[in-house]
Symmetry: C2
Subunit: 153 residues, 2 copies
Amino acid sequence: MDEVDTAILNAVQSNPRITLAGLAALTKATLSTCHRRLRRLEDAGYIAGYRAIIDPERVGLTFHALVFVALAPGPVDRFEEFEQAASLLPEVIEVLRLSGRPEYVLRVMTSDSAGFNILYDFQLSDLPRVASLRSELILGVPVPARAIAIPSP
Amino acid sequence: MDEVDTAILNAVQSNPRITLAGLAALTKATLSTCHRRLRRLEDAGYIAGYRAIIDPERVGLTFHALVFVALAPGPVDRFEEFEQAASLLPEVIEVLRLSGRPEYVLRVMTSDSAGFNILYDFQLSDLPRVASLRSELILGVPVPARAIAIPSP
DNA sequence: GCTGAAAGACGGACGTC
DNA sequence: GACGTCCGTCTTTCAGC
């Protein structure tokens, strides 16, 4: 991890389709160096993958919410049951594990509030070990998930 | 938006580096059709952009939290002041606007808890119009932000 | 909407330090 | 072990049909 690596990570984050020649120009390293560095960063797990960002509203997913989930007491390793069941619901975009209670936040998206109500009342309430649910409507995302600043050393 | 478009969106989400030939094979459409459809989806805003996903832990960002922010009363249009100031902090990865109180959730990442404390006590507390803060430590992300299912019609 | 040809990018192999 | 150059292959792009 030197300056070339961090420069590559910073560049690739917001523009994964940049060419190796473009990276070479940015980093002032040679093309083949960028080639191998990028491969190394991928193989070493620095780059977890690539994504295209779809505009949810544009495809009809206008209802966006956070659902806080408190679980019933039990062996911690069985939390995985809940996690796996939650991940099978296509409306569940992301699952965060929190430190306290509620134990989880789900980020969910549906076409409309009717779709959300069905999801909430049936699918989410029926997830294994769920004790209680609370939801927060997301009105907007002023700052969409963005590139992270790579710490220097 | 027909089946070819949705197939392209679904494919591209999880693998933006797929070749046009690959898309053609998946969609059973011809290569040049995929080419123009993809361009159209980009230009029409269905595809908001492309990102490389960096593993935050791998680059030393091990502290991950949600910060709930309640704002002081005032004209709603001045919420933008807060949003813009928050977006200038590199540790703030994402900003969500909620429907009630607290009005915002910030997703933040720092190298360690010391870094978070400084961020919380000084930068976040000093954001314009902030009335109160509450934070939730994120222990993990069992289901990382994933591909959304494109609704049919 | 399809096909073909030219330009360009990628990925590997080799030689050098 | 890391870097730099070269070359074959695949991909993209743009023309004409």
